[in-house]
């Protein structure tokens, strides 16, 4: 992938062109955190760019993780995170985060539910 040789940012320029050079997301989003398009998101998305429209369509009625969003968009994680964080902050996507670092009660609950789920596979 050859870029304009003189730009010191090198090949970072092209992917982050989508976010107009912003590399810092407005909030953190874990790789596996899932998002669903809100009613507001469905209405507003026609006024946004191609990538946000793709995200809104992807997450309409079916939760997708940040990793899936990046994969479907064919963008690096960092870019997908900036876009998704925008949409979450703007109320276009509902973010579901599972804080499993914390209370071991929550962690145990999830472990047990996942265990049941795996046994049913």
């Amino acid at each position: 992938m050859q870029t304009s040789g003189r730009d010191p940012r090198g090949s970072l320029v092209r992917p982050y062109a989508v976010t107009r050079g912003r590399t810092e997301p407005r909030r953190e989003i874990a790789l596996e955190a899932v998002m669903l398009t809100t009613v507001r998101g469905l209405h507003e998305v026609q006024f946004t760019g191609r990538d946000k429209q793709l995200i809104a369509r992807l997450c309409d009625g079916k939760p997708h993780s940040l990793a899936e969003i990046a994969a479907h968009l064919r963008q690096p994680l960092g870019v997908a995170r900036v876009l998704a964080a925008d949409m979450v902050s703007d109320g276009q996507l509902a973010l579901h985060e599972s804080k499993l670092d914390d209370s071991s009660d929550d962690r145990l609950d999830v472990l047990e539910r996942v265990l049941s789920g795996l046994r049913r596979l």
């Binding site: 992917p15 993780s65 999830v110 539910r113 996942v114």
Partner: protein, 208 residues
């Protein structure tokens, strides 16, 4: 017919829980195959970009496009209920991208290190990493055709894996085998959590 009644109750507030298990191991050991054997989606790949400067690569030539590199991870998904999704993330092939490994394990339920007995040293750094970060993990020895079969205790010795870490055989191509590995990871994580709790509980009659 709601056998998953307790699952529904957990989502009374409409929240969706997503969890992940990390699949580590050397390049070509079968991580993506393993994920693919149980994933409801064809394994996807996500990439993260990082600058080579942060891993100390000196590039005096200032060649365009040389400043960054991409780290790729394959992953899959298992939807267990309307409000419960399990993701399986394969680690990047390159073990030097530790920043990505940190992100991968953050909040993970546990991990499995997949081993190829022909390239056993490929597993060392993953095992060390999980030991250091105290993430519950187990070691799964992948089956490869036309490969000598070693006893599990021999493999354990070669890997210097502590006794409390489960070690099992698997065939990453086979759904039932992979299911067995994932169940073992979660059971081990539950056991570890109970051990932690027991250790933290105030001792009843502990003199001196």
């Amino acid at each position: 017919m709601d056998s998953a009644g307790s699952d529904r109750a957990a989502s009374a507030d409409g929240s969706i829980t997503s969890a992940k298990i990390v699949v580590a191991g050397g390049f070509g050991v079968g991580k993506t195959t393993l994920v693919g054997a149980v994933s409801e989606i064809v394994p996807l790949t996500t990439e993260a970009m990082m600058t080579t400067a942060s891993i100390g690569v000196d590039d005096a030539s200032n060649t365009p496009g040389k400043n960054t590199t991409t780290v790729a991870m394959d992953f899959g998904r298992i939807t267990m209920a309307d409000d419960l999704i399990l993701y399986l993330f394969g680690t990047p092939g390159q073990t030097r991208f530790w920043f990505m490994w940190d992100e991968l394990i953050r909040g993970a339920l546990g991990a499995t290190v997949l081993v190829d007995t022909r390239r056993i040293t490929d597993s060392f750094s993953a095992i060390d990493f999980f030991e250091n970060r105290k993430l519950p993990y187990l070691v799964a020895v992948n089956h490869f055709d036309n490969t000598p079969r070693y006893e599990l205790n021999e493999i354990r010795d070669a890997l210097t894996v502590p006794e409390h870490v489960p070690l099992m055989r698997c065939d990453a191509r086979h759904r039932e085998s992979v299911k067995g590995v994932l169940i073992a990871v979660v059971e081990h994580a539950i056991a570890e959590l109970h051990r932690e709790r027991a250790a933290a509980a105030p001792a009843v009659a502990h003199s001196g």
